[in-house]
């Protein structure tokens, strides 16, 4: 199977835009399409993709949390960042842990520190990294302030 070009592959989801450095691209997609994008990438490249990171960024002014999925595609040495936006007050997104099991710990971390719920991830727990007394808190949200001790 000849590797199709990445922009052709993802045309139906959005426009592929390059970063400054070579072989790095990003694409804005809708959060409901996330699972189908990743499934498509996995099928197109024979499973030779791996999830590098999940980066949630809290944009408090816009009221959204941007969840970036950095995915490395090994056969064409390309890093693609899938950018999705979810509302801040209802931070729920579909889990991809059944497609890429490597997402397990990254989703756990994002759930613990940013308070994002991943639908369908059975491993989520709170606190994961945080100490017990901060179990209910989400320190990486911009409006969070530590209690004075």
């Amino acid at each position: 199977m000849g590797a199709p070009s990445l922009s052709e592959l993802l045309r139906e989801f959005g426009e592929l835009k390059p970063y400054k450095r070579v072989n790095r691209y990003y694409i804005n997609i809708d959060s409901s399409q996330l699972r189908s994008v990743i499934k498509k990438l996995k099928e197109a490249y024979n499973g030779e993709i791996y999830l590098s990171s999940i980066t949630p960024v809290d944009y408090i002014k816009d009221g959204v949390i941007e969840v970036n999925y950095e995915i490395q595609i090994l056969p064409i040495n390309t890093l693609i960042v899938l950018k999705t936006k979810i509302p801040r007050d209802n931070a729920v997104i579909d889990s991809i842990v059944d497609i890429l099991p490597g997402a397990k710990v990254l989703e756990q971390e994002a759930h613990d520190l940013m308070g994002i719920s991943f639908n369908g991830n059975p491993y989520l727990r709170k606190p994961f990294l945080l100490p017990e007394e901060l179990a209910e808190e989400t320190p990486l949200r911009k409006d969070w302030k530590p209690k004075t001790r």
Binding site: L130, P131, E132, E133, L134, P139, P146
Partner: protein
């Protein structure tokens, strides 16, 4: 042998062969690998009788690396209580002394002296293995002073209860 005799033997033993317990309360590993490097042939602390002890109950000196994270603080307190008297606490590195670069974070208490009393401070980020060795020798002196106090004040009853307390913890 009399009771005082036994205690003197303990003091003599403590001076000649201090066993250290290493506990990482949230360090970056920099100090840990330097502690590890300090027990290797290059610096060979065993010529001073310094040896890593696996259990708090056998240790005389507790070497703490890293700032005290909230989760680790209770562990540290428990380990401190389990060490029999006399005991000395050594704080290694900027983080263990004050929090270092991580000052102001929500997840930790800061330096070790916020949680347990510290006897010897070894500054540096991280301190060199020879500086750690120097600090340990300093800790042995403190340990000897403390052993003298224990020797002077201990009676068979207090000694037995303190041993029972450490064993039960």
């Amino acid at each position: 042998m009399t009771f005082v005799g036994i205690i003197s033997v303990i003091r003599w033993g403590v001076k000649r062969s201090p066993w250290i317990l290493h506990f990482n309360t949230g360090a970056c590993n920099g100090c840990d690998i330097e502690v590890l490097a300090a027990i290797t042939p290059f610096y060979d602390p065993e010529r001073y009788g310094v040896k890593l002890s696996p259990s708090p109950r056998h240790a005389d000196i507790i070497v703490v690396t890293g700032l005290v994270t909230r989760k680790a603080a209770e562990r540290l307190k428990r380990i401190y209580e389990q060490i029999p008297e006399p005991k000395v606490v050594v704080a290694i590195g900027a983080c263990a002394i004050s929090g270092g670069v991580f000052q102001g974070s929500y997840a930790h208490h800061g330096g070790v002296d916020r949680v347990i009393p510290v006897d010897v401070y070894i500054p540096g980020c991280p301190p060199r293995p020879d500086a750690i060795l120097k600090g340990l020798l300093e800790a042995v002196e403190v340990l000897e002073e403390k052993a003298k106090i224990v020797e002077r004040t201990a009676t068979p009853t207090t000694y037995r209860t303190s041993v029972a307390a450490t064993n039960g913890g």
